[in-house]
């Protein structure tokens, strides 16, 4: 959309917007094309931590002033968030560990804020970054970076296993791995359990590995697609500079309106994805803290 992008090849424009500001940790230089593991997406990390610190700042400030008087402004809003998450956790699992609700709240607020960066017009911050700080690339939406979404979902995965071990113990967990969902309790067919056990283990492994993968890919996919469509609409609108005054009005205003419409639609996706990530995390952790044998 910006004037500087108008003459550029639209393909490189799109790629430029989907490339992270990547720091090669071997050479300590910006190298957006680097494919190795020891690199850091500075832009994603910076914005993720910045947003995280912003919400933590507000939450801890309210927590320090917490009292039983009439809540005001920010206090009210934060208590609303807390109550919302607390109710979700209570509904899903009434006897959840005290960690679950704060974890869910952190996920919800953080993912929500990261997703909301998508609403910032796509060229503003990269333009400032390029002109003021001389940064070659800048992606401001951390949740469109698959490393960020996997970083969170793998942490959740680790927590699921910590919960599993803490609540069921190694033996209970092993028993669950071997005997769930297929198990013959008695009768002449008991011998078949030998065959069923490997099946159970494979099913369980697929089930557990699917959890972090689906969490990360769902969030990444939704936000990446949203971002890509913003970029493509911007490419469409950039035709405004190539077709005279009529093109300027048509593509410029049309593109602007399409951007607005997509942003409005995206406002639905943003909280929904944050909510889905949170609820699924709560469900997984609740499942990890209750053994299947108790349910039957």
């Amino acid at each position: 959309m910006a004037a500087t992008e108008g003459q550029e090849d639209s393909g490189s424009y799109v790629l430029h917007h989907l490339t992270n500001l990547r720091l090669n940790l071997h050479t300590m230089k910006f190298d957006p094309g680097y494919k190795g593991f020891w690199a850091l997406d500075i832009d994603s990390v910076f914005f993720a931590i910045l947003l995280g610190l912003i919400f933590l700042f507000f939450f801890i400030r309210v927590a320090r002033r917490a009292n039983t008087g009439v809540p005001t402004g920010m206090e009210n809003f934060i208590e609303m968030c807390v109550e919302f998450v607390q109710n979700q956790v209570k509904e899903i699992s009434p006897h959840a560990n005290s960690l679950v609700a704060p974890l869910g709240l952190t996920i919800f607020v953080w993912v929500l804020l990261m997703n909301f960066m998508d609403i910032v017009p796509i060229d503003w911050l990269p333009y400032v970054g390029e002109k003021v700080f001389g940064l070659p690339n800048l992606r401001i939406v951390p949740s469109t970076d698959i490393n960020v979404t996997f970083g969170m979902s793998l942490s959740v995965f680790v927590l699921i296993y910590i919960f599993n071990f803490a609540y069921k113990g190694p033996i209970g967990l092993a028993k669950e791995f071997l005997t769930h969902p297929f198990f013959i309790k008695s009768g002449p067919m008991v011998v078949l359990n030998v065959v069923l056990m490997p099946v159970n283990v494979i099913l369980r492994l697929v089930e557990d590995i699917a959890k972090p993968v689906s969490l990360a890919l769902r969030l990444f996919g939704n936000l990446f697609a949203g971002e890509l469509i913003f970029v493509l609409i911007a490419v469409f609108a950039s035709n405004a500079f190539n077709h005279g005054i009529g093109g300027f009005v048509g593509f410029g205003i049309g593109g602007g309106l399409i951007q607005l419409a997509w942003a409005v639609f995206h406002m639905l996706v943003i909280p929904l994805q944050a909510f889905v990530f949170m609820v699924l995390t709560i469900v997984y952790l609740a499942g990890a803290s209750t053994s299947h044998s108790e349910e039957h």
Binding site: W38, A48, L103
Partner: protein, 156 residues
Amino acid sequence: MDPNATLIVQSITFLVFVALMWRLAWPPILGAMQARQAKIAEGLSAAERGEKALKDASSKSEGELKAARAQAQEIIGAANKQSAQLLEKAKADAEAEKARILEAGRAEAEREIAQAKEALRKQVGDLAVAGASKILKREIDAKAHADVLSELAAQV
């Protein structure tokens, strides 16, 4: 879309944020909210209790008022009765007094009548003596004819 160290940084940051939220932010906020909830519940129940007490007190005061009214009515009745009795008594006394005074007056009048009669009788006797002596042209010895005279007087 290549995995890199961002993953590790993000994981650690995430866990740190969760820990901070869990330890620093969550307990005071939730505690305050629960305390406030308890306070509000207590306030509501206190209001309910107050309302009930008010209702009790008003019904009690109504009862007292009714009792007081009844008592007042009773007192007024008694007073009325007493005043009627007093009036009755006073009337009776006055009646008796009147009768007594009348009786006294009548006795007095009778006595005076008797006196007058006596005096009249004497005068008649005297007159009769005077008349007889005039008729006889001589003096009648009043002393000699006293028995005759008194007999005459008694006949008048």
